[in-house]
Each structure stands twice: as structure tokens, then as C-alpha cells.
Symmetry: C2
Subunit: 179 residues, 2 copies
């Protein structure tokens, strides 16, 4: 068996970035698919010299909770690619920076209904170089935790966001900590 | 600083499961948030006795590609919780089953715009017990790969779905392979 793509019969936007496709399945059945047309995302595991991870806390309206996260965001057209976006987002959200941003992995947030990819970076020897630069609809608290504790937070659901758990996986694999 | 939730001023559905909330940010700014009201999801890292992972290949319309994935899906109301859903989905999609399904982690696919959680299971000593039972809008190819190769696939973006990379993280942590 060879898996075949769906044929798009009709495409409509419910609003900016939210598309509904009427698709024909290979057997002729009609499938309606909601597709989110998001830009490229980045997320960063930022490690200080003493192996502390730079974390943030913010309100997330999907789950309606304040949660701990890794820094990250959406690539701008002015960014020098995903790496530039990662460097900018880390600096804006936390005031930390570094000269060393290593792309450790990439993934699809959800290949079924999103067009975009998320790039994962490991930033080494980060240091606090400035204050935060936040949009007027961002409220972000910065805190540090040892890497060991962040691994535990991922395992117990406290580092709740799936894309950030995968970033942790990529970073640990890069660091030779998956055996 | 203590991070405050947004106040919902108005909620409208664009269609079933796709909600738009008009929210008031703590400083009075108005934010419009698209929220996807999905059900509970599950995904399974299923290992045979000789450490082969049961993988599937299917067309994913968001990225418009046929990709390799771990089995998984949406919990039904008739399922005995996430574990029951994991067992049913693995059997339906691949024909493999086991008596041992261990919940190794949970995560939010996207806490910013989704209400649901995804539960990650490790199934041990799975065996092929039947054929597939697919919906008439599912076309799924089943194949096996050694666990080591699946780790490499995650690292190189071939196991593309972020939630499945996080499932791999949870399973490897459970198996004591993160040091």
C-alpha cells in the first residue's frame, strides 16, 4: 500500500490564519480539515555556566493557567532565520543572551492541522545582559532552575508544553545524555 | 510580580471546536484568542520484546506530507480513560497489543490555544494480535524500527510530530535512559 495525499476541493478562511479545506480522501469520501497557517516558531533551552535553565512563567489562555515554560516565540520577517529569532526571543523575554545558539532539533507542533515547524535551540553559557522587552500584551516572570529539576518538571507535567518537552529531548540528546 | 489571567469579555464559535475569545489583558488591552476545544489525546511508544518500535505512516494535511509517527488518537467517551484509549488506538491502527500500558507522561499540545492534554504511554512486549480496524478516512501503513533508530529519527526530524518526540522523552526517562 502506498499512502496517498488528500485532494483539496475547496479552501476558505474563517479568519486570518484559520483555513478550512474540503478534501477528497483517496476512496472518494469528503473530509473537512481545519488548518492553522502559523509562522515559524522557535523555543530555547538556555543554560547558564552553572547548568541553570532560564525559565519563564506566563498565562496561557488555551489551558487557562499560569504555567512554567521555556522561552520562545514566532520568527519575524526581520530575524536572521530561526537562530536569529531564538536569540531575539530569549533576550526580549528574559534579558539573557549568549554567542552560542545550537539548533538541536526541529518538529511539527501538529502535522495534522498546522503548516508550520518549530525549531529547538540550545543556548550555552547564557548571561543576563539586559532587562526584558515585552509587548504590551505580555506579562512574563523569569526564573532559574537546575537542569536536573527541569527534567523532573517535564516528567511530572509541570513543564507542560509538549514542544518544550521535545526541545528538552533534543538538547539532552545533543549533550550526550540519552544512552 | 504575580502573573494574572486574562478576563474573557466575549466568546464565539467560528465552528464546532473552534472558539474565538475577546479577552481583556490585565492592563486593559484587548486580545483576541483562537481556542481549539479538542478532546483528550493519547500517543503510544509500543515496544516489541526485541525492542522494535511500532510506527505508522499516514498523510497529514497540515504539513501536506506522508510522515512517520507513533500510533495515537482521540479518547472516546466509551474508553476506560486515557489508558483504555491508548490500548484501543494501538490495536485499531496497528493490530498490536499488550497487557502493559504505562502512563509515562502528559503534556499540553499547545497551552496557548488548545484546551486539551495528551497522555503518553509506553506499551511493553507488544505483539501482533489482529489486523487493523480503520475508519473509512484513515489510510495507515504499519512498520517496525529498532528503538535506537527511532531516537535518530526524532533527532533528524523524520519522526516529525513534536508530541511524539515528547512521548519518546517520557518513555526514555521511564526506562532510565536519560542520565
Amino acid at each position: 500500500m502506498s499512502i496517498r495525499p488528500w485532494k483539496v476541493l475547496e479552501s476558505n478562511h474563517l479568519r486570518k490564519n484559520v483555513r478550512v479545506d474540503q478534501c477528497e480522501f483517496p476512496n472518494g469520501k469528503i473530509v473537512e480539515a481545519v488548518v492553522l497557517e502559523y509562522g515559524t516558531w522557535v523555543t530555547i533551552l538556555a543554560l547558564t555556566k552553572d547548568q541553570q535553565v532560564v525559565l519563564i512563567k506566563q498565562y496561557r489562555h488555551g489551558v487557562q493557567k499560569v504555567i512554567a515554560e521555556l522561552p520562545g516565540g514566532v520568527m519575524d520577517k526581520d530575524d536572521a532565520g530561526p537562530r536569529g529569532a531564538a536569540k531575539r526571543e530569549l533576550l526580549e523575554e528574559t534579558g539573557y543572551s549568549s554567542d552560542t545558539f545550537i539548533q538541536v532539533g526541529k518538529a511539527s507542533p501538529n502535522p495534522a492541522n498546522q503548516t508550520n515547524l518549530i525549531y529547538s535551540f540550545l543556548a550555552l553559557a547564557v548571561e543576563k545582559v539586559s532587562g526584558q522587552t515585552l509587548d504590551d500584551t505580555e506579562e512574563i516572570e523569569v526564573f532559574l532552575k537546575p537542569l536536573e529539576e527541569v527534567i523532573a518538571m517535564a516528567r511530572n507535567g509541570e513543564l507542560l508544553q509538549s514542544m518544550q518537552v521535545s526541545t528538552l529531548f533534543f538538547a539532552l540528546a545533543y549533550l550526550g545524555r540519552i544512552v
